[in-house]
Symmetry: C2
Subunit: 134 residues, 2 copies
DNA sequence: GGTATTATAGGAATGATTACGATTTACCTT
DNA sequence: AAGGTAAATCGTAATCATTCCTATAATACC
């Protein structure tokens, strides 16, 4: 995912262009790792002094709905990252220190079948520390 | 895991026996599914009118530390269930309606290897609805 | 440029969880 | 069985992430 592409998706879906949204996307494009709402606030506070959580959460939700961001929940906090170039279904190895990820193509669901459960979703994540944080 | 066994573990680790702890364990033994702290409160409120969240969370943490309960986090809430008879490493299919589970023996980590991440943990869960809730 | 609609700020409300001081209880010793 | 000590509990306040609300501001379309 690129900033330009994300902005086009926003426009195509009738959302307005704002400098905040552009900066949000540039932040995610630059960082390419999982960030919390607080991370976003702290990165953008210098630029937008009055930035509110409402704005951050609302935009994170919009971006996630549009497939621009991927979301996960870890340690009681939602975390977001720019959708991987790796299009298609995949999973992540996640650094617990910095949020950096490594994509995993293999999906364990390929070998799963169930008679007694109607399956709607699944989660497979590997946690640890990346080379820099280890 | 059985209530008797759990109480022995408590005793062996120097924790005191209380009727609340016994009732907590009986509740989990009876339900055999994932419960939230609120679920526990509501189930035990009739018996212990003044039961506080502090007591619930503290005991859930103790039980989890001792391996009596298994813990997961779903939808922004911690959930706990009696440790499966299925001893050894396993994963779960979880009913999003009632918390009932079905154990999965296969672990996707068997086929994973990583050079650039120091792996400490992983999570694999399948979500859906059980026969009764579907 | 004018107008309708969406976005945002700021702060209040919510929901889960944790922290804390005071009181009660379990368990060990005698 | 009584007493002392440490742990457990209650009741409530604090915390943290997230959502909700209302007035104001900015964007996009005509």
């Amino acid at each position: 995912m690129e900033v330009r592409e994300a902005l086009d998706i926003l426009k195509d879906n009738g959302y307005k262009f704002t400098r905040k949204r552009e900066m949000f996307l540039q932040l995610f494009a630059r960082e390419r790792r999982y960030l919390t709402a607080r991370d976003v606030l702290e990165h953008l506070k210098p630029t937008f002094s009055g930035l509110s959580f409402d704005t951050i959460y609302r935009n994170l939700a919009v971006f996630t709905d549009l497939g621009i961001l991927e979301e996960t929940e870890l340690d009681g906090e939602k975390r977001f990252r720019f959708s991987c170039a790796t299009s298609g279904h995949h999973h992540h190895m996640i650094c617990l220190e910095c949020g950096k990820t490594s994509a995993i193509q293999a999906c364990p669901m390929n070998e799963i079948q169930s008679d007694d459960f109607f399956i709607t979703d699944h989660k497979f994540e590997i946690y640890g520390y990346c080379q820099e944080c280890h």
